[in-house]
Each structure stands twice: as C-alpha cells, then as structure tokens.
Amino acid sequence: MSPSVGRRRLLGYVGTAVAGAAAGASAGVVGAQALDDDGRARPGAPAPGADALPRVVPAHGPHQPGVAAHLSGVTELVALDLLPEVRRARDRDALARLLRVWTGDVESLTAGRGAPGDTAPWLAAVADLTVTVGLGPGVLGEEWGIPAPVGFAKVPPMRHDRLREEWSGGDLLLLVNGADATTVGHAVRRMVADARPFAALRWRQQGAWRGRDQQGRPVTGRNLFGQVDGSANPRPGTDLFDSTVWIRDGAWAGGTTLVLRRIRMDLPTWDELTRAEQEASVGRRLDDGAPLTGGHERSDLDLAARADGRWVVAKDAHARRTHPSSHGGRRIFRKGANYEVVTPAGSETGLLFQSFQRDLTDQFVPIQQAMDVSDALNEWTTAVGSAEFAVLPGFAEGQWLGHQLLG
C-alpha cells in the first residue's frame, strides 16, 4: 500500500475515534444541549458525529467495495460504449488495457489523490468514494471469450416500460458514489477521459441519497415519494446478503450483477393522495418505514394480517408484491439515487434504482414481472431507462480489475 493512502486512512479513523471519545465523555452535557425535544440536532449545535466525516473506502478486496458500502450522498452512473474499431475487432487486449488504466484511477481517486496524469488533482478528496466497474451485455459471450455470469441477460420488456434509448444499455459501467458531487464528478471526468482511446461516453445519470441522519448515523434513506426505501434489504456482512448478491463460482466469483432502472416518478399526482393512500400503496408507514402491520422499520410484514375484513397490507401493495415469500425466497439488494433534472423543456423527477443480485434472471426478473402485472405504485412510476451490467469481482493490491476474466 502506498504510504500516503495509509496516512490518509489512518487520519480518518483517528479522527473518528477522537471525536467519538469526546462525544462520549461529554454526552450528558453537550448531547443534551445539542438535541431539541424531538431528538433532532438544533441549528448551531456542535458538529455531527465523526461517523459523518467522509473516509477512504479501501479499493481492494474480494468484491468491489462500492456494492456493499453504505450509500454516501451522490451517485453517478456512467455508461460507455467501446469504440467501433475495438468492438469490431473484439479486442480483448484493448479491453484489458482499459481496465488496467481504470484500476490505477480507482486506487488513486478513492484514496483522495488525483489519478496518474490528472489534469485537476486538486479536485480529488477523501469522500467515501467508491467506483464500481461493470461490463454490459455487448462485451460478454463467446465472441469476446468472456462468459456471462449465470442468468445474466437483458431484462425482458415490461408492459409498463417506456424505455428511452438515451438512458439504456451500454458496454461498460462506472458506478461512482461519494460524499459530494464535486469529487464524484471529478472521478467521472477523469475516468471517462482515460477511457478515450477505448470507449466513448453513452450516458451519465446522477442522483442523490440521504443515507445518514443528522448525527451521522447510517439510515436507510428516502426516495422522492418520501418513502423509506430499502428497509427489506439484506444487511451487508450477513450470510443472507452474501447469498443474495455475490456470485460464488467460476471466473465471476466475487462479482455480481446490476440492473439499473431509471424510474420516473409523477410527484404532482402522488401529492394529490392522502397520507393513508400513499402508505397503502406500499404497505409501510411514511414516517418511519415500519410495516402497516406494526413493529419498526426492520420488522417483517405480516402478510396474513386482516382488519375489518380487509388485508392490512393490500393485495397490490408494493411491499407484498415484492416480498420474498411471494417469490420463493428470491430477493435482491437495492440501492437508490433520487434525481431531479430540470431543463428548459421541463423537469423530470425519479429514482435511479439499482438492483444487485447474483442471478439476474432468477432473482430480479420474476420480482419485476410480478410488479409489472400488479403493483399499486405503477400508477405513479414509469421505467424510462434500463441497463444491465455484470459487476466485476474485486482485486487485490497488485492486481487489476477484471484480471479474473481477461488476464
């Protein structure tokens, strides 16, 4: 490991420990003063817990760390297409060289340093930055000599889809997440520039997520409907998460698959609903995300519960339609990024919905199809973009992204 990385990382953790100790020692005083009656931090209160301070997310490991990492504030998804000459020649060597270049970029940028050859290294910063790299359907298969992960395929058309080409597809994916848009945008700019001999930009989609509370503690976060979004996720670090997300065997072991759905959300008509109607459409409370059948956010839904002769969680409620028990235990790991795009022609709001799963066809597709048949949320949501990527396994120091497949 390069020492400057080590220093920065050390500083990050030391900072956390010191601030944590200080907060603990004075909790009875500072803590009481910092919070108002509702437990919210008051304006002008002492700085939030050091948990909120951006850190270096180590780039190396059996998995690309951005998949399981808790969402930081800004997410940008970037698709690139291989240049025609690279694609025509099925130039595996060129693809491998691109991934080598990107590997160095990822190592530097996520550590808070400018990438080698960076034209604006001062924009790099320690920012929880993760860069997750994936391959699209166009570079997988026999022609490229790169086997696709088991079950990897394009998502079949859905009745409710209104997909637009400019938000769909792509040969290569960069999924960049970090604390602020300046750092994330710089990483994207750098890596797109370094890809220029090999690939060209197809689309960029940016969104935001509030994954921490005012004390800096990780929380699930909300979509633009106001719903707590992702409560049913398997928790990273658990066996359930591992079996849901990570490919276990073969060259893709340690990788996963990603489906990106750009979901347009009709906020004006959503806002016409009563709170009860809004909560019924999902089957969860808006204030804390708890199931309408009781408990707290992490409680499971009681799908059998009835009140006054009716299902408490409606037949077409989103949480019922997508519940693992409705799909033989199949589940996904979801992340989100809220977007609002304002142009002179108008605005579009929605969610960049990211679904991670070991087997796209076995896990994602049946759940999506069930939603397409019936889901109360369909009235206010429309998929306008869709893309599928195989997320490369992780790499150790001295290795490069994709070496398992192209080395």
Binding site: A96, L99, G114, A193, P197, F198, E397, Q399
Partner: protein, 237 residues
C-alpha cells in the same frame, strides 16, 4: 550497450517487502503476457559508454541502508505514443517522496524500451520556459518530495523501440547516486492535455506539433485546451 539481466523474481503475493524498491505497489500482475511490451528489466549501460559489470538492482543487505530504502514513488505513469506526432520519445511522470533522514539523489533512469533516458526539468531561460537535462541529478532533501509532472520535471524516454499503448505497463528503473535502484512499474496513459505544448524540446529538433500533426487525430480534442497563442513555439508558457 545493453546487458540483459534476468527479470528479478517478483513475488506474486502483495505482501512482498516492496516499499523500498517497488513503487507502483507491485503491479507485476498487470502486465499482459505475450501481448505486452517485452519490458524485462535490463541494465542499460549505454549512457556510460564503457563496460561495467551489471548493476545489482538491489541493496547490499548487510550494508548501510541504501537510498532506495528511503525513496517512495507514487502514481507513476507514462504518456502513450499512439497517435503522437513523434512516437520515438515520451516521458514518465510520478511523485517522488524521500522518507529518509538523508538526501537522495536520482542520477538517472533506464528502461528496456528506451535507447536513451534522461532526467529533464523546465527552467526559465531568457524569460522563456525551456526543457533541459537536469545536471547533477534530481536531489531530494530528507523528508521532501518532488512531483514529476507534465510541464515540469520528468523522465524523458527517447529512441523508443516500441509503441506505447494506453494500458500497457512500462518497467522503469530509477538510478540513485549510491548505486541503488528503484523499480517503477508505470501504466501507460493517454496524455489528455495538449501534448504538443508539453513535448517540445530543443534537443530533439522540430517535433512538428503544429496543427498539421493533429489533423488526423479525431479523438483528441486539442482545441479544448487553449494555452494561448504560443502554439508554434517549443516553449511552455
């Protein structure tokens, strides 16, 4: 003349004690087998013009700490030559960090693919910035670093025998004044600034970096980097 040495064994595991000699965090694994440049390390003695025994690329384990123990190299890279006006030369850039208590002097460098290698700096001569060879080596005071970067000091690689493509790995050896070496494995990257402005050099004649040389280079948006109206000169503003 060049004397080829066997490639020193590079342990595959990342745990090798590479700090003092390896700079780019052990990227041996990133070399593309047969497709890669044949960049085995060599003791390039041509610059000396005399017969010298091959340099041991390490340090006497029983002796005093070598300068190479103190020199750390970060984020090295080499400018690709694909599409360049002059594909016979390029430059390597990196961040050097002297972590030791004694001065470290980089006296030279060598690479298998380069017939000639020099350390260059930018200096003001008669009010103009020009590139010239560093006399007496690149001196790093204890605890101090130095950035080798476009528009500044760099390792000039000349008489290249291979095309350098983005994503290739180039093995470079930095030679220190006490005879110790530092190995650097540097990725080749496309230069995304205006290459012509950087690359001019009075020692290499007209490198033809005018508009004509870029005419066929569709993918390179040189026009987006406006360095002023000095486009025809070799000097960096």
């Amino acid at each position: 003349m060049n004397l080829s040495l066997p490639t020193p064994a590079r342990p595959a595991s990342p745990g090798r004690p590479g700090r003092r000699r390896s700079a780019s965090a052990g990227r041996a694994g990133r070399r593309t087998g047969a497709a890669a440049l044949a960049l085995v390390l060599a003791a390039a003695l041509a610059a000396c013009g005399e017969e010298v025994a091959p340099i041991e690329p390490t340090i006497d384990p029983a002796g005093a700490p070598a300068a190479a123990d103190s020199l750390e190299v970060h984020d090295p890279w080499v400018r690709a030559t694909v599409g360049a006006d002059d594909t016979t030369m390029t430059a390597a850039f990196m961040v050097l960090d002297n972590t030791g208590d004694a001065e470290v002097t980089v006296t030279g460098a060598r690479a298998e693919v380069a017939g000639r290698t020099e350390l260059h700096e930018m200096a003001a001569v008669d009010g103009q910035m020009v590139m010239r060879q560093i006399r007496g080596g690149l001196v790093l005071a204890p605890g101090r670093g130095q950035m080798l970067q476009p528009g500044g000091s760099h390792v000039m690689l000349m008489e290249l025998t291979e095309e350098l493509r983005p994503g290739d790995e180039l093995d470079l050896v930095l030679e220190l004044s006490d005879g110790s070496d530092v190995e650097v494995s540097a990725p080749v990257k496309e230069f995304t600034e205006e290459a012509g402005h950087y690359h001019g050099d009075d020692g290499h004649g007209d490198d033809g970096h005018g508009d004509d040389g870029h005419g066929d280079d569709e993918g390179h948006d040189h026009g987006s980097h406006d360095h002023g109206d000095d486009g025809e000169g070799d000097e960096h503003p």
